[in-house]
């Protein structure tokens, strides 16, 4: 019976994706293209060959991290909408270390750059955490505002002190090779960031399944009062989970710089932060789910460019699909909850 409840929970995201595919198929037919052909091109472009598969995985990496960022805070019942800002702060900090710390061996330089990114993200997230615990300021509002702030701070840095050449486009110098994440397979773009992302998923799973800390955070997330009555420090749990969420966000930016981009350009993130929310919700805040949904969204992103190249279907169609998926997941989790409750009630009887 427990198994049945779990199956219902797992079936919901699958149904949401299916429903979104159907609706978008109708829309594709509406613009006069063949849905079957479009989805074939989409799949081909996303995972059709070794090169596109590795490219999809490259896109997956930052989505995993921003997904984990949202999910970690959500476990504590906090809404971290700030992954985008944390990502920018992480990117700029790791780029600074990657560009300006010269003469270090790779063994030291790369970890240092990653650490800088993680710390910057964590520090940035500690602002809304502090505001929430100290002044009860809603984290949704403060994290959104800090996103704008972070993006503009980074812009100011890239236009100002960090610019490579004031007469060219606004970008920083190249990150030194000693701070770059190594490419895993010759001839592809896939870098070691994917390993770090997997590691992060394992860690996340470990924390919430096997560690006291995760148990405490979940207790606070599910009933703050009961947690307090059991001697758990609610404020500390909120701060810690928000900061860890920030660390994940910061790492998303750092790995994007050290692995994929190699230098910092203004506006480099195609909304990885808000996509992370979709990833976390679609993945039901579970490590495996987050990995799979990040991969799906990465594949859709990459497939969308192929779609635009080969057909008249605009890339935005895929953004619409992503939106519909998330909408259905949210509606579906409500339906799933009702079904689960019914199943559980039968069980009791």
């Amino acid at each position: 019976m427990r198994l049945r409840q779990k199956l219902i929970a797992a079936a919901m995201p699958a149904l949401a994706i299916l429903a979104a595919l159907l609706i978008v198929a109708v829309m594709i037919a509406g613009v006069g293209e063949s849905p079957a052909e479009a989805y074939r091109i989409l799949a081909q472009g996303a995972v059709g060959d070794w090169r596109s598969l590795t490219d999809t995985l490259v896109k997956t990496v930052p989505l995993i991290f921003t997904g984990l960022s949202f999910a970690f805070a959500a476990k504590c019942n906090i809404w971290n909408i700030g992954a985008e800002g944390q990502l920018y702060m992480g990117a700029v900090a790791s780029t600074a270390v990657g560009v300006y710390c010269t003469g270090l061996p790779a063994l030291l330089h790369l970890p240092l750059a990653l650490l800088a990114g993680a710390l910057a993200g964590g520090l940035w997230a500690s602002i809304p955490a502090w505001l929430k615990v100290r002044f009860k300021i809603n984290e949704v509002v403060s994290t959104i505002m800090l996103n704008y702030t972070a993006i503009l701070v980074v812009s100011a840095l890239v236009y100002g002190p960090m610019i490579e050449d004031p007469f060219k486009s606004p970008q920083t110098c190249k990150i030194l090779p000693t701070a770059r994440l190594p490419v895993l397979f010759e001839g592809t773009k896939l870098h070691a960031g994917i390993l770090l992302a997997l590691l992060a998923c394992v860690l996340y799973h470990l924390i919430f399944r096997h560690m006291l800390f995760g148990y405490r955070v979940s207790a606070v997330g599910k009933n703050r009062e009961a947690a307090r009555f059991s001697g758990i420090s609610v404020e500390r749990s909120i701060c810690m989970s928000m900061i860890i969420a920030g660390v994940f966000g910061g790492l998303a930016g750092a790995i994007e710089m050290l692995g994929t981009n190699g230098l910092l350009i203004i506006g480099f993130s195609p909304e990885y932060g808000s996509d992370g929310i979709a990833v976390a919700l679609l993945g039901q805040l579970e490590a495996v789910g987050i990995f799979l949904s990040a991969f799906l969204l990465g594949a859709l992103r990459l497939g969308a460019t192929a779609l635009q190249r080969k057909t008249d279907i605009p890339q935005q169609m895929i953004t619409i699909m992503q939106g519909i998926i998330v909408l259905f997941v949210i509606a579906g989790s409500a339906i799933g909850r009702i079904l689960q409750n019914r199943a559980a009630k039968k069980e009791v009887k």
Binding site: L212, Y215, K222, F229, S230, G231
Partner: protein
């Protein structure tokens, strides 16, 4: 005495597992004040919610002016002239008094809020009954008393002829209560009728015409106020047949383990809700703290457990000062707490039974080491408690939200009692659960006492108080009315003290 304008006949209402009202009959006459008296859970509020159209009765009829009516919603009730002032006001804080009063009365198809059109008529009511309300003041800026007057004006403005007041004086200062009684007198003079729920017997004696007493969902009797006494009311309310057979007063009490010295607690609004309470509780003793709900006893319990800031006085455990110590340090010291609200304070409803049982044990090396949970040991521990406390379903992975109230309470009790607390504070440990679970939990409490625990049971239920306690402390409006030996006092005396009579004046032993 005027004619009967309202009659409720054979009203029955059952909630899952609870018989809230059973064949209840009451009648109300024109221009009278009828009081409803009864312990918590006697069914007063449910009965009034039926009259207000909030609940539908399972069976039974309601007659207004001799004609049968069906009250399907509060709107239907007010259309028949029945208006209820709830304990928790239904006002919108950011709106002014006037905006709240006319809310929902807008004309269909008129997009504008025509405040001024209503002002003179509202003001007329205010003047007529001498209700001091500033129509342009925001409700958020008002005292509780003024908010209540806004509620009353709101109800009168909808031309209610029958007013239901649910414990209206519980939130008022004595002066405000005086004013309210004056207003009620004016209603009577206008031929309006009032149904008044209260626990405060002296109040009821003073200005009600008749008093109907409910117990366990049934009407016991109705007295003419002029022909009864507080003593008679108290004994009728708690019932002559108080069962206290189970408690054998073993003289096991040892040293003083917990000592409260002049403890004061102020709430968020800086109102003193616990006033200079001094108590001593010994090892191997159960002290009951009796009192009507909302008289500071829950706050006192939370204060002892470090969940509420003590603003004055000190608390000592084994002679050591533990005033305002952290919850965690108190748990480590062997304190245990059964909180008043199991769903919001005692349990994580979305957690499994196992995870709920673990809540206070998680730091123990047996169940976690170096930050990792020891799942196998935890499962064994959960299974053991489930067996020992007969928790159903006997599945450690079942979610607690799907358990019945009694089993939820057993989860809390299992968690707290299995730690063999040295100091145990239980607030209404059996509220709202069936008789079997109640018996079970009481037996466990007596076992804990035998084991030498120092136990405080906060309870609003006199049956419970007498069936398990060695001594009874009575609290009223945050003040200790006195501490009595359970064997040497009657429920009537305790009932009196609960309504604010001091021990010296209650003539008890």
């Amino acid at each position: 005495m005027g004619k009967v304008i309202l009659e409720m006949r054979n009203i029955c209402k059952t909630f899952p597992g609870v018989r809230a009202n059973h064949n209840v009959c009451i009648d109300l006459r024109e221009g009278e004040v009828l009081a409803l008296l009864g312990e918590n859970g006697a069914g007063k509020s449910v009965l009034m919610s039926i009259l207000d159209g909030f609940y539908q009765p399972d069976s039974g009829e309601i007659y207004i002016d001799g004609r049968q009516v069906r009250l399907t919603s509060p709107q239907a009730a007010i259309a028949r002239g029945i208006g209820m002032i709830h304990q928790h006001f239904m006002l919108i804080p950011v709106f002014t008094a006037l905006e709240n009063i006319i809310l929902g009365l807008e004309l269909k198809g008129d997009p504008f809020l025509r405040r001024e059109a209503y002002r003179s008529r509202v003001q007329e009511i205010i003047d007529r009954y001498g209700l001091a309300v500033d129509l342009d003041k925001r409700v958020a800026d008002m005292s509780v008393g003024e908010q209540q007057r806004v509620e009353i004006v709101k109800t009168l403005f909808r031309s209610a002829s029958i007013l239901i007041l649910d414990e209206p004086t519980a939130v008022l200062t004595p002066g405000e209560s005086r004013d309210l009684f004056r207003v009620i007198k004016q209603f009577q003079a206008d031929g309006k009728s009032v149904i008044f729920i209260s626990h405060k017997m002296d109040e009821l004696m003073e200005f009600s015409d008749r008093i109907t007493i409910l117990r366990q969902g049934e009407v016991i009797t109705t007295f003419d106020t002029a022909q009864t006494s507080i003593k008679e009311l108290a004994s009728t309310m708690v019932g002559g047949d108080v069962q206290w057979a189970q408690n054998v007063h073993e003289k096991t009490a040892g040293d003083i383990r917990l000592r409260l010295e002049d403890v004061c607690i102020r709430d968020q609004r800086e109102v003193e809700i616990v006033k200079h309470v001094s108590l001593e509780v010994r090892a191997g003793e159960i002290l009951a703290v009796a009192g009507i709900d909302g008289n500071g006893q829950n706050e006192l319990a939370e204060g002892i457990l470090g969940l509420r800031h003590i603003t004055g006085g000190r608390i000592y455990a084994d002679g050591e000062d533990i005033t305002n110590a952290s919850v965690k340090s108190l748990l480590e010291r062997g304190f245990g707490f059964v909180p008043p609200d199991r769903k919001s304070q005692g349990l994580v409803l979305d957690f499994s039974i196992r995870d709920n049982l673990l809540l206070e044990e998680m730091d123990r090396p047996a169940y976690s080491s170096r930050g990792f949970l020891r799942h196998r040991e935890i499962l064994r521990f959960a299974k053991e408690l489930i067996g020992k406390f007969d928790i159903r379903p006997a599945n450690p992975d079942a979610l607690v939200k799907n358990c019945s109230g009694g089993n939820q309470q057993k989860v809390i009790v299992a968690r707290v009692f299995s730690r063999r607390p040295r100091v145990l504070v239980a607030v209404n440990p059996v509220r709202g659960i069936d008789i079997n679970a109640t018996e079970f939990i009481h037996r466990r409490l007596l076992e804990q006492r035998k084991d030498g625990a120092c136990i405080i049971v906060v309870s609003t239920d006199l049956d419970e108080v007498f069936s398990i306690s060695d001594r009874i402390a009575v609290i009223c409006q945050g003040e200790l009315m006195g501490v009595c030996d359970a064997a040497a006092v009657t429920p009537e005396d305790i009932g009196l003290m609960m309504t604010g009579v001091r021990k010296e004046d209650a003539s008890c032993g």
